[in-house]
């Protein structure tokens, strides 16, 4: 069944997160409250005001990818290619059994292959233009993951790439759902980001929103009275989307349904107009045909910046009523993964629904003014049918997605 409101199922997850490589490890760590935030190891951070990140340990690209792909790929693309493999395997999909035109790839990106780009910029300026790699023309750009995944799995259907800072991950899932509804039987979608390299770090520092705390348990504290900025991380998730009826017909395990989506952008700073986050949430609920009371848990964006936390808490309270819905920020264990964050939250929501527990927000001592029912320190058992995932990006991007449990 296709059409503007046909149900679209998630049938596979591929996860690469700082606290777990692969969906199983990630979920075990996340429900157990295990954080992956630590001092940066990929370069010497001692000269920078912020020195913590959520790095993915133990990812050896050569174990997962053919050597032909290694010279031409940034770390982010290697992670994305591995995650795509895992998502397809998790969905029980053999791409060669599909018509190539029936499969597409829609990803979000934040910074492309920024580390690769740093290497080539350095060659250009330190040694000369003839030292720049032939792979630079695509290895760094924002479309690289969609392109490489489509090539690796022979996916010739509609593909795409969106960039809307941290909100982009949900925008990609929504675009994938749109393509499935228009008739494409399978889309690999989501996002991974990884720009933990000196050049990426300096560019991120310029946002002025990064935490300069050196204590992994005190650095990123969403909704805390001492919120002081965020810790970035690397990774994210890719999902396999299919029409729900087709997925069931092939006997696939349906993890859940992408039920609703809404997106807005905040007005210009200084305009005096309020944030539009609540509108994005309401549009997503309407799109899902859900009332606020149907939502069992909110996976909040959790910026960790006081004024942004306040806006989000106000929007959640306005839509759901103060303290009326459980709220959690599992990214307190991974750091903010930019466009990778929200697809990972969607994956987390689906895993939480299966397990019947809400994973915790770690390290936060909540600011009472926000009046949120935050799930703190340890997982909370709960019967979960419907979750809302919120993602907000630098520049005022707001995206919200309603996810429903599979049977």
């Amino acid at each position: 069944m296709t059409g503007a409101s046909a149900p679209v199922a998630v049938t596979g997850l591929g996860v690469a997160a700082p606290n777990g490589l692969g969906a199983a490890d990630y979920w075990a760590a996340t429900r157990g409250g295990k954080s992956g935030i630590g001092r940066i190891t990929r370069f010497d951070p001692s000269g920078y005001p912020a020195q913590l990140a959520g790095e993915i340990p133990g990812f050896d690209a050569a174990e997962h990818l053919p050597s032909r792909l290694l010279p031409q790929t940034d770390r982010v693309t290697r992670l994305a290619l591995a995650a795509a493999d895992w998502a397809l395997a998790d969905a029980g999909v053999a791409p060669e059994s599909f018509d190539p035109l029936d499969m597409g790839v829609v990803t979000a990106s934040h910074a492309g292959g920024f580390e690769f780009g740093q290497g080539e910029l350095q060659k250009l300026w330190a040694r000369g233009s003839q030292f720049v790699s032939a792979y630079q023309s695509f290895a760094w750009f924002y479309a690289v993951n969609s392109g490489q995944i489509s090539i690796r799995h022979g996916m010739k259907g509609p593909s795409g790439v969106v960039v809307s800072d941290q909100a982009g991950g949900l925008d990609a899932l929504a675009q994938a759902r749109r393509q499935v509804r228009k008739g494409t039987p399978l889309i690999v979608t989501g996002a991974l980001d990884a720009s933990v390299c000196p050049w990426g770090w300096v560019a991120q520092l310029a946002s002025g929103r990064m935490s300069t705390s050196a204590e992994p348990t005190r650095a990123y504290l969403p909704f805390d009275r001492d919120a002081r900025g965020y810790v970035p991380g690397e990774g994210g998730a890719l999902l396999v989307l299919e029409p729900a009826d087709a997925a069931r017909a092939r006997g696939a395990r349906v993890l859940g349904e992408i039920a609703g989506y809404g997106a807005t952008i905040d007005p210009a700073p200084g305009s005096g107009r309020p944030s539009t986050l609540r509108t994005a949430i309401r549009v997503a609920l309407d799109d899902a045909g859900a009332a606020p009371g149907d939502v069992d848990v909110v996976f909040a964006d959790g910026a960790g910046v006081p004024e942004l936390d306040r806006t989000e808490a106000e929007a959640v309270s306005e839509v759901f009523g103060s303290g009326r819905v459980a709220v959690t920020v599992p990214k307190s264990m991974t750091g903010r993964l930019y466009s990778g964050a929200a697809p990972l939250d969607v994956a987390c929501a689906l895993l939480a629904m299966r397990a019947g527990v809400i994973p915790p927000t770690v390290h936060t001592d909540p600011c009472p003014e926000y009046d949120l029912d935050l799930v703190l320190y340890q997982a909370r058992p709960a019967e979960l049918r419907t979750a809302l995932v919120v993602a907000r990006g630098h520049g005022g991007f707001n995206s919200a997605m309603v996810v429903r449990a599979g049977e």
Partner: protein, 89 residues
């Protein structure tokens, strides 16, 4: 570096560094007369390989050397050594 001879081992090393190797390809085998295409290297891989040779050996190859004129390791090694000899003289 211009007194160097460019050997098959040099080419193997540069190919691996510039483009890796296909899973079905044994670069250690006798590949002198196997086309780059059969070895699994397409134009982009060959451009990168050519650029690495140019930089390391300080020579300049023609635009079409790797994609049209020197389609096997033997032909490429010969071309590179001719350029090296020309650079020496």
């Amino acid at each position: 570096m211009t007194d160097k001879e460019f050997t098959l081992d040099d080419l193997r090393r540069i190919l691996l560094q510039a483009a890796g190797a296909d899973e079905g390809t044994d670069l250690g085998a006798d590949i002198l007369d196997t086309s780059f295409d059969l070895l699994g290297y397409e134009s982009l891989a060959l451009l990168e390989t050519g650029a690495c040779i140019e930089r390391e050996y300080g020579i300049s190859l023609d635009d079409d050397t790797l994609t049209t004129d020197a389609l096997t390791p033997r032909a490429l090694i010969k071309t590179v050594n001719e350029r090296l000899a020309a650079a020496r003289s």
